[in-house]
C-alpha cells in the first residue's frame, strides 16, 4: 500500500514523451487487464444479470459470501490486531518469526491451504480427530468456509497494521510511558487510534481476499448451495453448467472489488486530512 502512504511533496510531472514511453512499456500488462475486464463486461447483458439476480441459487451464494466474509473479517480484525501488536513490541527474533508465520498463507497456493486445513481440522486430522470425538464437525460447514477465508486473509490485515504501528514515532510511546500509561492503555488509546488508517486498509484488503477465496474452500468446506457454496464456487461450477449465473456473479464480484478500491482511496484521503 505504498502508493497510499502520505507523501511530503508531490513528484514533479514528467514531459509527455516520458509518459507515453512508459505507458507503451507497460501496455502489454495494461491490455491484459483491460481486455479481460472488457470481455467480462461486454459478454454480459444487463437483462441477463437482472434475471440471474432473481435466481435463488445466485442470491444464496451472495448471501452466504456476505455472512461468511463478515465473520472471517471480524475474526481476522480481533485476533489479527493482537498479532500485529505482538509483532510491534516483541523482541526482534520473536517478532520476525511471528511475521514469517503470519505471512505464509499469503504466499502459499490456496489449494495447499485447503489440504493443510483438511489434514489439521478434518475428521481424521491432527485436531479434527479430537473435535470429532467431542461431536464437533468442522469440514463441510460454514465454519470451515470462515476458517479458510480467515486463513488466507489474515496476512493482509496483520502485515498492514504491523507496518502502521512501526510508522508511529517511538517518542510518542515514551511520552505515554512517562505519563504513567500501562501497556494495555497505550495500545488502546494511542497505538491503535494512530494506526487507524492502516487498520482500515488492512481490513479492506483482507475482506477482498476473503470474498475471492476459492481453492481452500472447495477442498476444505466442500460445495453445497446455501451451506458452503460461496460466490467463487458458484462461478466455478456455473462455468460448466450455467454460464449466465457464473457471469452475473462474476460481475457482482468485480463491482465489489471496484467498490472496495474506491472506498479505500476516499477513506484514506479523509484520514490524511484529519491527521494534518
Amino acid at each position: 500500500m505504498q502508493k497510499l502512504m502520505p507523501r511530503g511533496r508531490r513528484t514533479p510531472e514528467a514531459g509527455w514523451a516520458y509518459v507515453v514511453g512508459s505507458i507503451l512499456l507497460g501496455a502489454p500488462l495494461l491490455a491484459l487487464i483491460a481486455l479481460s475486464l472488457a470481455g467480462l463486461l461486454l459478454g454480459t447483458s444487463p437483462s441477463e444479470v437482472g434475471a440471474q439476480m432473481r435466481e435463488e441459487t445466485t442470491l444464496q451464494a451472495i448471501y452466504l459470501s456476505l455472512r461468511t466474509t463478515l465473520a472471517s473479517l471480524a475474526a481476522v480484525m480481533v485476533f489479527g490486531t493482537g498479532l500485529a501488536l505482538a509483532i510491534h513490541r516483541s523482541p526482534s527474533w520473536l517478532a520476525s518469526s511471528l511475521e514469517l508465520v503470519v505471512t505464509l498463507p499469503a504466499i502459499m497456493p490456496p489449494s495447499v491451504a485447503g489440504i493443510a486445513l483438511l489434514l489439521a481440522f478434518g475428521r481424521q486430522g491432527l485436531v479434527g480427530e479430537h473435535l470429532d470425538a467431542m461431536g464437533v464437525r468442522v469440514a463441510f460447514t460454514p465454519l470451515a468456509v470462515v476458517m479458510a477465508q480467515a486463513f488466507v486473509a489474515a496476512p493482509f490485515y496483520v502485515r498492514e497494521v504491523a507496518s502502521g504501528l512501526r510508522s508511529i514515532d517511538p517518542q510518542v510511546l515514551e511520552a505515554a510511558h512517562i505519563d504513567g500509561a500501562g501497556g494495555a492503555k497505550t495500545a488502546t488509546s494511542i497505538l491503535i487510534p494512530l494506526a487507524m488508517p492502516f487498520v482500515f486498509v488492512g481490513a479492506a484488503l483482507a475482506w477482498a481476499r476473503a470474498v475471492g477465496e476459492f481453492g481452500a474452500t472447495i477442498l476444505f468446506a466442500g460445495n453445497l448451495p446455501g451451506v458452503t457454496q460461496t460466490m467463487p464456487l458458484a462461478i466455478y461450477l456455473g462455468f460448466e453448467s450455467d454460464l449466465a449465473q457464473a457471469k452475473a456473479l462474476a460481475l457482482v464480484l468485480l463491482a465489489f472489488a471496484v467498490g472496495v478500491l474506491v472506498l479505500l482511496k476516499a477513506a484514506f484521503h479523509r484520514f490524511l486530512a484529519l491527521a494534518h
Binding site: 501496455a27 502489454p28 491490455a31 483438511l118 478434518g122 475428521r123 481424521q124 464437525r137 469440514a139 463441510f140 472447495i218 468446506a221 466442500g222 460445495n223 453445497l224 448451495p225 451451506v227 458452503t228 466455478y236 461450477l237 462455468f239 460448466e240 453448467s241
Partner: protein
C-alpha cells in the same frame, strides 16, 4: 504484446504434430493412464497427453478452445455440448454406480441404510455421475418412500466437481459415504469399502468417445479410438472395473449410440 507472445512460445512450445491430446472423464483415470502407455508402446514416436476432469469441465474447456483430439466423456449429454465428428463416435465402455464407504464405518450393510449415514458426499448435478446419482435416488425412493429420500438428501454435505473429488473425501474419512462408479471404488484398492447398488435401481452409464471438430490430428485420433475398442484396451477397462460396451449395441449406427 508481440514480445510476450514470442517469449511464451519459446518457453511453452506448441506440442509436436505427433502429440495426441486426449480429454477423458475423471472416472477413466486409471484405465486411460495404462491405455495411453500401451498405445505409445504400440505406435513408436506417438505421444499421448492426457487431461482428466469432470466431463462437463472438459466440454467447457473444449468449447473455450482447449486443444483436444479425442474426447472420452462419461455421458452423451456432455459430448453433445461440443462440436464433434459424428462418424467417429463410438460407445467404448459402460459403468455402474456403487456406494463407497469410509473404511471402518459400521452399521451399514445395504444401500437402504444410506438414510442413517450422517455425512454423504455426491457429485454436482452438472457432473455425469451427479446426474446418475439423482436418477438412482429417485428410483430408490419409489421403493423406500419419500421419507427415505428426504433423509438421504438432508445428509448430503457436499456436491463435488468430479467423481474423484467425491472418492477423495471418502478416502480421507471426511465423508462416511460417497456415490461414485464401481470403477472408482475399485481404483481405491481397498482404501474404501464398497456397498453395491442392485441392478434394478442402478444406472448403466454409457461412455462415448469422439473426435472434436477442432482436432488438428484426426488420423492419429482415429487410430487411438480404434485402439481403445481393441481387446487390449477393453481388458484394461474391465480390469479398472468398467464394463465393455454391449456387442449388439456396437452393431447399431454410431449416431444412434452417441445420442444423449
Amino acid at each position: 504484446m508481440l514480445l510476450a507472445l514470442a517469449a511464451s512460445m519459446l518457453l511453452f512450445p506448441q506440442p509436436q504434430h505427433r502429440t495426441l491430446s486426449v480429454f477423458a472423464a475423471a472416472s477413466l483415470k486409471e484405465a486411460f493412464t495404462s491405455i495411453a502407455k500401451d498405445y505409445e508402446a504400440a505406435h513408436r514416436g506417438s505421444k499421448v497427453r492426457l487431461n482428466f476432469a469432470g466431463s462437463q469441465t472438459l466440454a467447457a474447456q473444449i468449447n473455450h478452445g482447449a486443444p483436444a483430439d479425442v474426447f472420452a466423456s462419461a455421458a452423451a449429454r456432455n459430448l453433445a455440448q461440443v462440436a464433434y465428428d459424428r462418424s467417429s463416435c463410438r460407445v467404448f465402455a459402460r459403468n455402474r454406480l456403487a456406494i463407497g464407504l469410509r473404511k471402518g464405518l459400521r452399521g451399514v450393510s445395504s444401500f437402504k441404510d444410506l438414510a442413517q449415514v450422517r455425512n454423504i458426499v455426491v457429485a454436482d448435478p452438472a457432473v455425469p455421475v451427479g446426474g446418475h446419482t439423482a436418477t438412482f435416488l429417485t428410483k430408490a425412493a419409489k421403493e423406500h418412500g419419500a421419507g427415505w429420500l428426504r433423509s438421504v438428501r438432508s445428509h448430503v454435505v457436499s456436491q463435488e466437481a468430479d467423481v474423484k473429488a467425491v472418492l477423495a473425501k471418502v478416502r480421507l474419512g471426511e465423508a462416511d459415504a460417497g456415490i461414485v462408479y464401481i470403477s472408482d471404488v475399485r481404483s481405491a484398492r481397498g482404501a474404501v469399502d464398497m456397498l453395491p447398488i442392485p441392478d434394478r435401481l442402478n444406472v448403466l452409464a454409457q461412455y462415448p468417445v469422439a473426435i472434436p471438430a477442432s482436432s488438428t490430428n484426426r488420423d492419429e485420433a482415429l487410430r487411438f479410438i480404434r485402439f481403445l475398442l481393441g481387446p487390449g484396451s477393453q481388458s484394461r477397462l474391465r480390469k479398472a472395473g468398467l464394463l465393455s460396451p454391449d456387442r449388439r449395441a456396437s452393431l447399431k449406427p454410431a449416431s444412434l449410440q452417441c445420442k444423449s
